[in-house]
Every structure is written in structure tokens, then in C-alpha cells.
């Protein structure tokens, strides 16, 4: 009986389509970004998303959705993040084009727990992607910790994402680094799809760049803006005299 089961499992493995025909890359759907990434986001690697505002969560979720394919994804949120930026909402995920039943949520008490849970989760090949949310710059998240995540991601092919908010950029072993802020809607009355002003500031495999990317919730893919929208002044040229990425200033009230 058990021999039959093994044989069956073997046959199923043969019949199943390869998880990634594209050699471990998943195209994002945005032509220029995919060109810079040599075909798409590398699966089984670590990617960093630095968030200036809530758009970062959406961008990381969208990337994880692309990378996970039909598999489930785990989102590790620290208690502090949930208070500061809100908890990940199931109805929000559904509206964003991500099936909430395919998402596991883990609440971590601190950065140490979050990283440890992330390392644990990367050992589970049934997961498609893991998002580890780390606010600020905790000491525990250093080059060694990020390399550990990279090795974990490579071992089982689970794609790892570090979602950083209120954080300074620091050296890491990540494959790509994205700086993300909300993109303005075009016209006055047009309330469009989620829109990201995304800068690929580090890419181990190719050029960097900065694009306006729109997430199409129905297709679960990114797309560029139409010509007209692109010229509406939504994209600003990167500044050369100051850090390209600074947290929004807070005014004393």
C-alpha cells in the first residue's frame, strides 16, 4: 500500500508543471521593471521593501503575491507595527486581489521573534512567500541576519521579503531593494488602482530605476501607467543633493 502511494507521489511530481518555467523568476507585469530585473523578481531570494508610508505594505504584498504563485504566504507583523500602521486586514487583502484564506498571519512580539519565525517559516517548502515586517533599525537585523534569511530562502525556494518602515537603509544581503511611497492618482476625479512610486535602488542582477507602478487587483499583476498618466507629473526626478529617501517630516502640532 505505502509503496503504491510513493509511486503515485512520484508520478504526480512528474506530471506537475515545474513551479517556475522561467528559471526561478516571476515577471511582475511592468515592462521596464521586468527588463531591469532580467525577466522578473527572483524567487527563492531575499528582497527588501523600504516603506515611506502604507504603500510599502501594499507593494510588499503585491510582490509576495506574484512570487508565491498558488502557494500560501505568511505575513509576520510585529505588535508595534500593528499599532502604528494598522493590522493586516482580511477584507483589505481580498479587495487587493489576495485570497485571505491563503494568508497566514503571525504576530511577533519583537524583531528577534519576527526574524526567528521568518527563518523557521523559510524551511517550509509549502509556503510561497514570507513577509517579515521589521520597523526601525533593530541591532539584531544586521548583515548576518539578512544573510541567514537569504540562505533560508535559497534552501527551499521560498521567497523572503523584508518590509522595513521608519528605517534607515543599511547594508544587507538582499537581492533587490525597493524604496516605495504612494503614487498620486492622475486626474482630479479619477480614483485609480493602488499606485506606487517605486525605486529599485539596488539590484544585484542589473540596472536600477524608478517607475510609477500600478497594481491591477483583478489580474494580480503590475502594469505601467498609460502615456497620458505618465506625463501628468506624477514621477519626479530623483534628487541629487539630498537623500532620495527620507521619512516624511512631522510637524509639531
Amino acid at each position: 500500500m505505502s509503496r503504491n502511494l510513493h509511486a503515485l507521489a512520484g508520478i504526480r511530481q512528474l506530471l506537475a508543471p515545474a513551479a517556475d518555467p522561467d528559471g526561478g523568476r516571476t515577471p511582475l507585469g511592468h515592462a521596464q521593471a521586468d527588463r531591469a530585473l532580467r525577466g522578473g523578481l527572483m524567487c527563492g531570494a531575499l528582497h527588501e521593501v523600504f516603506a515611506a508610508d502604507a504603500a510599502g505594505s501594499g507593494f510588499a504584498a503585491a510582490l509576495a503575491r506574484r512570487a508565491a504563485g498558488s502557494k500560501r504566504l505568511l505575513w509576520i507583523v510585529q505588535d508595534y507595527s500593528a499599532l502604528e500602521h494598522g493590522q493586516v486586514s482580511a477584507t483589505g487583502l481580498a479587495e487587493f486581489g489576495i485570497d485571505p484564506t491563503a494568508v497566514l498571519l503571525m504576530r511577533a512580539a519583537n524583531a528577534t521573534d519576527a526574524l526567528r519565525a521568518g527563518a523557521d517559516a523559510l524551511c517550509c517548502s509549502a509556503l510561497g512567500a514570507v513577509i517579515v515586517e521589521i520597523p526601525g533599525n533593530p541591532k539584531i537585523l544586521d548583515l548576518v541576519a539578512s544573510r541567514r534569511l537569504v540562505l533560508g530562502a535559497q534552501a527551499k525556494g521560498v521567497t523572503a521579503f523584508l518590509l522595513r518602515s521608519e528605517a534607515e537603509i543599511e547594508p544587507s544581503a538582499a537581492q533587490t531593494r525597493w524604496l516605495v511611497r504612494s503614487g498620486r492618482s492622475p486626474g482630479i476625479d479619477d480614483w485609480g488602482s493602488p499606485r506606487f512610486d517605486a525605486e529599485l535602488s539596488r539590484n544585484r542582477q542589473g540596472e536600477t530605476g524608478r517607475w510609477m507602478m500600478e497594481w491591477c487587483c483583478d489580474d494580480g499583476a503590475f502594469r505601467g501607467l498609460s502615456e497620458q498618466a505618465a506625463h501628468s507629473g506624477a514621477v519626479v526626478s530623483p534628487a541629487s543633493d539630498r537623500p532620495a529617501f527620507a521619512p516624511p517630516q512631522r510637524r509639531a502640532g
Binding site: 477584507t91 497566514l104 498620486r184 480614483w191
Partner: protein, 466 residues
């Protein structure tokens, strides 16, 4: 009261002044009931090695249900002697007795130390005990003494109707129990396991590897029994009994019935690694026990071509491992709820205990932009708002001390509260999706309608769109 105090003719309940007068060098320590209770709890934990059924009796006694366990210790006499000797060896003064009912054993232990009453002979054994052994109200004990009834036999000799009329029903029940005529269930301190396996060591063990190996071999024998019964464990507990009497219990739950010894051992390892205060063997453990506190039927899995059973199993194992390490309440999965109230429309429940649900998430409308924010505040945060018209969207708002100028707004989406559920009326909410000058999108609502509901409307941020 130990023998030395008795020799000095001291007794409980005497006035401090008279005790001081009798013994000049008396060392007085204030009573600490909390510490006493804690110590008694530790002794009760230690007694777990004799039977899992241990109950606390008042503030100074323990009841052990040893039904079916005596043969493991060489019979009733040997077991009682062993319990008494081992507790005495730890420096306690101990009295003990064994009888067919809890009340009889209790009375004998307190007033006839060392008695073993054979089943059915409780009445004979307790006959000459003082009435105080009946565990009565002080008032009733006093009344019996005044009536000249000094022993249980004398009380038992009176008519039941007479006693019932004078002292009430409870009294008669207590008497019957002490005579072995009725039984009162005792409630154990800990959950009684469905199954347990244990390993006793002749010499205490300390080595971590050896303990891990023991857990694995215990897991194998437990799984063997589970397999015979067609069951799997959902709630497992390992108990480590130290030679010096300290007992440590380590438990974890699983997402699905479990019957694999290797997985059990691995989950225990994850749990042990994550302990804030690590397992301290001290001078060594002399007993390790593995108990399945809760078991469930485990249906052999059917292998379907389309399904992905391996994937589900791996996910369940991941959930178990994370829960063992960080707590079951931290690993969550989402479930839809049958309500339109935004904050209640979905709940995050512990993934290990997620019940089956028939309610599905509302599918998104094709071509529609997200109507609900990706991140929702756990508690809506109040904001200061400037609106152009009372019923319209805000022009500007201040949230967490930052002023946001609204450039685009969508709404209102009017959501009425569930008036059929709440006693006090709750204000209707008007929700707006707004975008500020930097493109950040917020989900705001106004609590209450202008001029229509008896509240002054307030504004809140409820969520952030991606």
C-alpha cells in the same frame, strides 16, 4: 504540628501569649497562606508520579485517586508506605490513609494515620473517629458535642430522619460518605490525560540528548497506542519529575491530530528551545512522562490526485512549530464573518483552532478599485477635521499631529450599525476614501449624521490603503 511541638504541649489555635508563656524561646513566624498553598501545589505536582488524579483538600491536604494504580507500586500497603516515606524524606510531617471513598480516606488520614480500610469496611474503620472528622460546619460539630455524640458511630446510630431534621441534608450526605455509603466526585487539579506513557529511571538523568531520546521513545510507544485506537493527539504534555520534588510541565497543541513520534519529538524540541527559563535538570530527572491530554479520531488520509495533501500537512506542521515556539495565539488565519460592520467582517483566529466555516469572503468586484484598506487600525483613531459642507468629505485633517490636505475623496459609503444587536443606539458611519497631497490614501469615517442623530459627529481614521 509535629511531635516536638506536641511534646511541649503546644496546640493549634492557642493564644500567642499563652504559648510564649509556656515556651520562652518561641520563634514566631507570621502565617503566609499564599506560600502554604504554593508549597502544597508543588507537593501535589510531585504526587503526580503516583497517579494523574490529584486533588487539593482544603489548605493542608491532598487526595489521590489511586484506583487501578496500586499494583504498579506493589499493592496498597506498599504504595501508601512509599508515598508517606518519600514525602517524609523531604522534611514534611505527613499523615496518610487509604480507603474506598474520598471522605473516608480523608477522615482516616486526619484522625487515624496509616489506616488502610478495605473496600466496604469504611464504616467499621471510621466508627471510633471523633465527629470532627466528618468535616462539618463548626456550628454542627459543636452541637453534636453538646448532644453527647462524640464518635462517628454514635452519630451514625441515630435515625437518618432525625439528623436530617436537625442538621439538614448536607450533613447526612457527609456522614454517608464517611461511612462509605456514598461517593462524592473529587475534581483533579490538572486535566486528566486520555493517554499517558512514562519512563522511570533507576538513576537520575541529566544529559539533554538522553532526555530528547527518551521523549522520542515515549513518543513511539504513545503513537503505537494511538494507532491501535485510530486516534491522533491534539494536545500533548511532557512532565519532568526532578529528584528533589520539582516538577516541570511542558505542553503544546497541534493543528491536526498527530501520530508521528519524530514530529512530536521535534515539536517538543522547538518548545524547549523557546522557553524563557530553560528546563533545569538540577540533580536529574527520575521520571519523564508523555501524556496526550486530548486525542481525536484520525482518519487515514485519502490520496487524491488533484489535492495537495503534502502541502497542507507541511503548513500544519509549520503552524504547530510556530505555535509551540511563540504561542498559539500568535499564529493566526483569517475567517470571514456574517456581518457588514467593517472591523468585524473578518476575524483572525488561532490557526491551530480555526473552526470550519461556511461563510466565504465577499469576492471583489471585477474592475473596482479596493474599497477596504489593506491595513486597518485596531482602534479607530480620532482626527481633527475641516469639512467644506457638514455632510461632505473633509478638506483637511490632522492625524497624529500631521496636517493632511485632501486632494481627492470618494464617498460617502454609509454603514449603519447593527441596531438589532446593540441595546444602546450606535451612530451611523459615513466612510470616505481620501487621498492627500502626497498620494497617501486613508479610510476615514464620520461617526453620526449631522442634525439627524443625537450625537455630535466625530471623525476617525480607520485604515490605510496601500
Amino acid at each position: 504540628m509535629d511531635a516536638r511541638a506536641a511534646a511541649l504541649k503546644l496546640h493549634p489555635g492557642m493564644a500567642l501569649a499563652s504559648a510564649r508563656a509556656m515556651v520562652r524561646a518561641l520563634d514566631v513566624v507570621e502565617a503566609d497562606p499564599a506560600a502554604d498553598a504554593k508549597l502544597l501545589g508543588q507537593i501535589a505536582d510531585w504526587c503526580d508520579r503516583f497517579t494523574p488524579f490529584v486533588a487539593i483538600d482544603r489548605f493542608d491536604g491532598l487526595l489521590l485517586d489511586v484506583t487501578g494504580a496500586t499494583h504498579l507500586f506493589g499493592g496498597e500497603e506498599k504504595m501508601l508506605a512509599q508515598i508517606r516515606a518519600k514525602i517524609a524524606a523531604q522534611g514534611f510531617v505527613v499523615r496518610g490513609a487509604l480507603a474506598g471513598t474520598a471522605a473516608a480516606a480523608r477522615a482516616l488520614a486526619r484522625y487515624a494515620d496509616g489506616t488502610i480500610a478495605a473496600s466496604g469496611e469504611e464504616a467499621k474503620a471510621t466508627a471510633f473517629l471523633p465527629v470532627a472528622a466528618l468535616d462539618l460546619e463548626p456550628r454542627d460539630t459543636h452541637a453534636l458535642k453538646r448532644a453527647g455524640l462524640k464518635t462517628i458511630a454514635q452519630v451514625a446510630g441515630r435515625g437518618r430522619g432525625e439528623l436530617n431534621a436537625r442538621f439538614g441534608k448536607t450533613f447526612v450526605f457527609k456522614l454517608d460518605r464517611a461511612l462509605g455509603l456514598g461517593e462524592q466526585p473529587i475534581s483533579p487539579r490538572r486535566i486528566l490525560p486520555d493517554l499517558l506513557v512514562e519512563h522511570r529511571f533507576a538513576d537520575p538523568v541529566v544529559a539533554e540528548d538522553f532526555i530528547a531520546g527518551t521523549l522520542l521513545s515515549l513518543g513511539r510507544s504513545l503513537c503505537g497506542v494511538l494507532e491501535e485506537r485510530g486516534q491522533g493527539a491534539r494536545f500533548l504534555e511532557a512532565s519532568f519529575f526532578r529528584t528533589d520534588g520539582v516538577v516541570r510541565h511542558i505542553a503544546f497543541e497541534t493543528a491536526r491530530p498527530l501520530r508521528e513520534a519524530e514530529t512530536i519529538a521535534r515539536l517538543f524540541r522547538a518548545r524547549l528551545d523557546a522557553l524563557a527559563d530553560p528546563l533545569d535538570p538540577g540533580f536529574g530527572f527520575d521520571l519523564v512522562r508523555l501524556a496526550a491530554l486530548h486525542v481525536e479520531r484520525l482518519v487515514p488520509e485519502s490520496v487524491g490526485l488533484g489535492a495537495r495533501p503534502d502541502e497542507d500537512k507541511e503548513i500544519a506542521f509549520l503552524i504547530d512549530r510556530l505555535a509551540a515556539r511563540f504561542g498559539s495565539h500568535r499564529v493566526l488565519s483569517f475567517q470571514a464573518q456574517d456581518t457588514h460592520i467593517p472591523e468585524a467582517a473578518a476575524v483572525a483566529v488561532p490557526a491551530q483552532h480555526a473552526p470550519e466555516t461556511k461563510i466565504a469572503f465577499e469576492p471583489r468586484l471585477a474592475g473596482e478599485v479596493p474599497r477596504r484598506p489593506l491595513r486597518m487600525m485596531e482602534k479607530p483613531e480620532p482626527i481633527d477635521v475641516m469639512a467644506q459642507v457638514p455632510d461632505g468629505p473633509p478638506l483637511r485633517f490632522r492625524w497624529r499631529r500631521v496636517l493632511h490636505a485632501v486632494t481627492r475623496a470618494e464617498g460617502p459609503e454609509r454603514i449603519a450599525m447593527e441596531w438589532w444587536k446593540n441595546q444602546s443606539p450606535q451612530p451611523t458611519r459615513d466612510y470616505f476614501r481620501v487621498e492627500d497631497e502626497a498620494g497617501r490614501r486613508f479610510w476615514l469615517y464620520r461617526d453620526g449624521l449631522y442634525g439627524r442623530e443625537p450625537f455630535s459627529p466625530r471623525w476617525y481614521v480607520h485604515g490605510l490603503f496601500a
